[in-house]
Amino acid sequence: MEKFTTLQSRAIPLNIENVDTDQIIPARFLKATDRKGFGDNVFRDWRYHKDGSENSDFVLNNSKYSGRVLVAGDNFGCGSSREHAAWAITDFGFKVVVSSFFADIFKGNALNNGLLPVQVSADFLSKLIKKVENNPETEIEVNLENQTISVKGSELSEDFEIDAYKKTCMINGYDDIDYLVNNKELIEAFETQKTY
């Protein structure tokens, strides 16, 4: 897994609540058997009309906005467990998703793929979205070590929570398989002594 320590970048504002994983990557694109290339179809049905032409109203098609931070509305990533959603977002180039609330499975999938979910207060989120919408050149700084997110050249800053174990994994690029495989003896012992 790719390491994550700090990131300074512009952001893309996606001011929609309850963005589900079917919108992030529709089911018809889940037929691949490897992890690559899902970025082409991220938010497919919002980015393109059915005839394949670009939907110019959608923020990802607005050339004013760019960057590796996606700032989205409340309850991001709800619905299906498809990890393809996290793969599609990272493959498109994002390293951080900011929202006031994340669905459980998506959050876990993101952390397992070096994509940092930054959960902020509703108040901070609405200020951040406004700021980015008004000024696409707004630079955002995310520091995982200090667990802070701030807007450069402004007072806007907030601390965020992350599981201490997951933080270590992100900073060092470790994943859970390494840890679990190293615990094999304990697991085998558990199997012989199970109480149920």
């Binding site: 609540e17 309850n18 079917d22 037929k31 619905g79 599981d163 994943d175 398989i177 149920y196």
Partner: protein, 461 residues
């Protein structure tokens, strides 16, 4: 001794180890896999040279991509065919039991596993599919996982997890005539919203659930994820034991009796504390229907769409082409789907057949009846339900996920409404531009007969 919840008891007995101030290593008894979320996990293990640790605790089926007609023919869609072939290759290589297309045990993973007795009380179960919560109906801890976690379970039969918080939803009282388990869960989600359960594992308690069949309990637990809860559980009781008894992979004879004695110790202790509790009166629940693009946007079928100024709410209504304040009764509907891991079990088809018997499908309606498994299909035929459907102009198709997620050929056309017994009404879920209205099998059957949404409560009284 401290009072424990059902969830606590199952969780605690499966903890192998804990990281200080971090997650626990949780042992997984059964791992279910299907063609969509497993190939990348197999690749990852192969790339890292790690063998599958406990292949005999994995059960595989093909369901998401499978066509629901002509299953004896090669699959036309090349990518779907390749994904199924890949699953067969991976299972063969790793010595994993696979019920592939056409096998007498093939079916939707959350229908076939309980049916075979793979699902049992007190177990931990996972699958790369968010509706794994279904199996909680047996008093198991069952939840959906991502593909990286599928690889972790392949490698170690364990997962690193932080214990979720506890939530209990109690429904007591008498359910009205025509109110089905689907209505109960749609009602709960409409009251609590789509993220009330996030970070929690839910237990459903009260006589409304105690009096439900296993099929009904599975429908309820299936949709736990639609309120954000990773899983939902119902305490195992005589109904559970009776269902499990004698099934192919259930413990037999003395072993079964020993298990039952253990399963009886699992229900939540009196006085155990939950982090959050809600309770509802069963008598307040009526046949439900959704009007928006998430499962929390539901109303009683007799109610009108609420008025809300939230831009996301308005965007949702615009997608559905509905107006705030309007009623859905008399809306013409051209598509009806009865199926999916939520409502494709034998009871669901009995309910539909009972309403349809002696009536005819409306001419404007395309109706897809898709059993959840080969075994359900066989039972539909055996009980004579297929004849009822045939006589009424309905077509019984072959098992699979079908129009629930439109990964196969069963897609609802752009702009069309579909009254569907599935679990998600997200934009485009049933096909690009399709508009999904979630409902029970009874409401779906009535819609198919009338060609429009009707006030089913009038037919019942």
């Amino acid at each position: 001794m401290s009072k424990k919840t059902l969830f606590d008891k199952v969780w605690d007995s499966h903890v192998v180890n804990s990281i200080e101030n971090g997650p626990s290593v949780l042992y997984i008894d059964k791992h279910l896999i299907h063609e969509v979320t497993s190939p990348q996990a197999f690749n990852e293990l192969e790339d890292r040279g790690i063998p599958v640790f406990r292949p005999n605790q994995i059960v595989a089926t093909a369901d998401h991509n499978t066509p629901t007609l002509n299953q004896d023919q090669p699959i036309k869609d090349k990518l779907s065919r390749q994904q199924l072939e890949q699953l067969s290759i991976n299972c063969k290589k790793n010595d994993i039991t696979l019920y592939e297309l056409g096998h007498k045990y093939n079916g939707i993973v959350h229908v076939m596993a309980p049916e075979l007795g793979v699902t049992q009380p007190g177990m931990t179960m996972v699958c790369g599919d968010s509706h794994t919560s279904t199996h909680g109906a047996f008093g198991a801890i069952a939840f959906g996982i991502g593909t990286s976690q599928v690889a972790q379970v392949f490698a170690s039969q364990c997962l690193l997890l932080t214990k979720p918080k506890s939530l209990r939803v109690t429904v007591n009282g008498k359910l009205k005539n025509g109110v089905l388990p689907k209505d109960v869960i749609l009602y709960i989600i409409s009251k609590l919203g789509t993220n009330s359960g996030t970070g929690y594992f839910c237990e459903y308690a009260g006589n409304a659930f105690e009096e439900m069949s296993m099929e009904g309990r599975m429908t309820v637990c299936n949709m736990s994820i639609e309120m954000g809860a990773r899983g939902g559980m119902i305490a195992p009781d005589e109904t559970t034991f009776e269902y499990v008894k004698g099934r192919e992979f259930a413990p037999q004879g003395e072993e079964f009796d020993k298990k039952v004695a253990y399963w009886k110790t699992l229900p939540t202790d009196k006085g155990a504390q939950f982090d959050k509790e809600y309770s509802f009166d069963a008598a307040d629940i009526e046949p439900m229907i959704t009007y928006g693009t998430n499962p929390g946007m539901g109303i009683k079928i007799t109610e009108t769409i609420p008025v809300d100024e939230n831009p996301s709410f308005k965007k949702s209504l615009a997608y559905m082409n509905f107006e705030a304040g309007e009623s859905l009764i008399n809306k013409p509907i051209n598509f009806v789907f009865i199926g999916s891991c939520t409502n494709s079990r034998i009871e669901d088809f009995r309910v539909a057949a009972n309403f349809i018997k002696g009536k005819q499908k409306a001419n404007n309606v395309t109706a897809w009846l898709v059993p959840g498994s080969k075994q359900v299909e066989a039972q539909i035929i055996e009980e004579g339900l297929k004849d009822i459907f045939d006589n009424a102009g309905f077509e019984l198709r072959q098992p699979g996920c079908s129009a629930c997620l439109a990964m196969n050929d069963d897609k609802i056309p752009q702009g069309e409404y579909c009254v569907s017994t599935s679990n998600r009404n997200f934009e485009g879920r049933q096909g690009q531009g399709s508009r999904t209205i979630l409902a029970s099998p009874l409401v779906a059957a009535a819609t198919a007969v009338e060609g429009k949404i009707i006030d089913i409560t009038k037919h019942l009284n």
